[in-house]
């Protein structure tokens, strides 16, 4: 037993920050809290991340059960296979979103037994009183997952709401269409509130909702400011840790604990920067995690990058925030309008920038911004086969980037007339596996790719030095 425990500890990913190392117990507590809430008679709701409904759900005293989080936990513990297989045995295709398959497999098993399946990861996912689905961020499983789950929980209502944003187009005029979108999003949020009021038999406290919206906005600012500290060389925190610290962003938004967590992380990073303490001692290559959800069962691959002198000061994944001041949200006392503007402007504020670069797109602009701000040497992406929503665009984004970061040296002339030869070749690596389906993963293959990528970075560095 002791040996097994030691082996498990050895398998743990090494974190660079104390904050990231605290995440495991925090997640366990989040799940335990849902079980306690259920026992106390509170209402539980299945929820998805990044739907901007956290303030509404919390203001109604409904306890969120983050189904993507639970699937991720199963993946990280390498214990998803039995739930995926169960879903497959119910005729759900293995090529569907593996988060959804895992959740469906677990739910069906729990409903079948009338209790948690054996050895449920971290206590298991509690039975919901309602489900709140939304297919925004263009993820169709987030529309269909809970509908499918209703096969096993026909008594649990599912409320599907929509908060859209306009897809990018060169000739889009945001100022013309924004009022319509805001009006529509507010009406959808009102519909959600009406549903929650029916389910809980309580009225929404709009003052409390307003306070929670303020808290969320302060938290967004704090996260942005904190993550920007990672620009430091050497970087004090990399993406490996950010895949942990996403928890208070994704699953604890609109709570004081989330704000406090990032305030504490902010303090820790500043201390590390003052001590010039990096993720690794000899930082050779700075990489951007340019997209795709991680393989939760293989987070140790970040340590493998570190062992080769590579760090990730920044990532696009789980960085779905901007400082609120940058979004120029109009003055309004209506908390629903504030949520609507925050949503709309987060997704569209890069549009003007993209328009100025022919062939670009907002997602590519975000990559360029991070590449320049964080002094990036290479880009790594992860194609998770079961996450169609995200990985379909990755290769296109890389091909657009290739047009900007060309392999040929070019001449620049500075303001004082000095001529410089610059190299902007930006090597890229695409890792291939899945978010939680470990059958898709080969450690030997992945590490072979990483080794080759490091050799590429080394080659380019030498070429520049010559």
């Amino acid at each position: 037993m002791a040996e097994e425990q030691k082996k498990n500890e050895n398998q743990k990913r090494r974190t660079a920050t104390k904050a990231a190392s605290m995440i495991g117990p925090m997640v366990k507590e989040l799940i335990a809290a849902t079980h306690r809430a259920k026992a106390e008679g509170k209402k539980l709701a299945y929820t998805f991340i990044s739907c901007h409904y956290e303030e509404i759900v919390r203001a109604m005293d409904v306890v969120p059960v983050w189904t993507e989080n639970f699937a991720g936990i199963c993946g990280a513990k390498r214990d998803a296979e039995r739930f995926l297989s169960r879903a497959e045995s119910l005729d759900f295709s293995r090529s569907l979103c593996s988060y959804a398959l895992c959740g469906i497999g677990f739910d069906q098993w729990r409903e079948d037994l009338g209790e948690m399946p054996p050895d449920p990861p971290w206590g298991g996912q509690g039975r919901p009183d309602m489900m709140l689905s939304s297919g925004q961020i263009l993820c169709d499983p987030r529309n269909k997952w809970y509908q499918a789950a209703q096969q096993f929980m026909p008594d649990v209502p599912n409320y599907n709401f929509s908060i859209p944003w306009p897809l990018y187009d060169d000739d889009i005029e945001l100022t013309e269409i924004e009022p319509y979108y805001i009006k529509y999003i507010v009406s959808e949020l009102k519909g959600l509130i009406a549903f929650l009021e029916t389910q809980t038999q309580k009225r929404m406290d709009y003052d409390r909702l307003g306070e929670l919206v303020n808290l969320t906005e302060r938290t967004w600012n704090m996260i942005w400011e904190t993550y920007e500290l990672r620009r430091a060389v050497p970087t004090p925190m990399d993406t490996g840790d950010a895949m942990n610290t996403m928890v208070p962003w994704a699953f604890m938004m609109a709570t004081q604990e989330s704000y406090n967590f990032f305030a504490e992380l902010n303090r820790e990073l500043k201390e590390k920067i003052a001590r010039k303490e990096g993720v690794i001692k000899d930082e050779k290559y700075r990489l951007l995690w340019g997209g795709g959800l991680p393989a939760w069962f293989a987070l140790k691959d970040f340590n493998y990058f570190n062992s080769k002198g590579a760090v990730f000061p920044v990532e696009t994944t789980y960085r779905l925030i901007e400082p609120i001041y940058r979004l120029n949200i109009p003055d309004t006392n209506d908390p629903l309008e504030r949520i609507a503007y925050r949503w709309f402007r987060y997704w569209t504020y890069m549009y003007d920038k993209a328009k100025k670069r022919p062939g670009s797109e907002p997602d590519v602009e975000r990559l360029i911004q991070f590449i320049e701000d964080y002094k990036i040497d290479g880009v790594v992406m992860h194609e998770a086969f079961s996450c169609r929503t995200w990985h379909l665009g990755l290769i296109w984004q890389l091909s657009q980037l290739k047009k900007i970061y060309k392999p040929v040296p070019f001449l620049t002339i500075g303001p004082d007339g000095t001529k410089n030869v610059e190299h902007r070749e930006l090597p890229t690596l695409i890792l291939e596996s899945d978010i939680i389906d470990i059958n898709s993963y080969s450690e030997a293959d992945t590490r072979n790719r990483i080794d080759a990528f490091i050799e590429t970075l080394e080659s380019i560095k030498k070429q520049r030095e010559n």
Partner: protein
Amino acid sequence: MSVYAAGIDIGSAFSKGVIFKNKQTLGFCCIPSGGDYRATAEKIKKELLSKTGLSSPAPIFTVATGLGAKMVGFADVIRTELSCHARGIITIFPSVRTVVDIGDSYSRALRIDEHGHLLKFLLSGKCAGGSARILKKIAKILQVKLEELGPLSLRSQKQVDFNTNCAVFAESEAVSRIAEGASKEDLLAGIHRALAAQVNNLAERVGIEKDYALVGGGAKDEGLVKAVELMNGFNLVVPSEPLLTAALGAAILAEEMAPA
């Protein structure tokens, strides 16, 4: 006296070795990898030594590469196949900028600079789709030798279309086509075209820049080479010993890295 440099490439089907000194190849060998890579590496070392007349204690600096590189107990350094292919091909053909290695378990596309530095690369997926494995399977089904595949394919009059990129599904699809009466020649031409499309897709994703070379076991198959050429509309570059490129590159790197 400078040391000898050896490059050992342990692949999933074949293992290769090159011994090198003063930028000259002194000997090489290629044997099936079998199931014990450690023993295979020792066998290659012995064979290389016998070809050069060296005795075992002679100072040899070794760079190992390939799937079983870690099993080469006497290796001084391990490098990936990609870097080794890059160095190997640029030594043989200095004008090459795009390389595709068609191996038994993977295909790999590389873009390199004039010094043989790796600029960009892509590997085929975890499954055998896009690798030369399918050629072995088809040869077995058709009961022909691997070296016969190319000439047969080039005699095709009407190639068969394949609907899958998967090596396993392609095998069953081939059996169905045989049952429908397709000739060996047409079947092979279809297989070559399907594989060529996958290989070329990798190359396009790293950016095809001439000269474009094919290496690895697949490059020995002239039917496949022709299919890739037809897809691009220009001739490819293929070394006379395409299986040895990575081992040669490893030997070159070994000579550079060896202590003076």
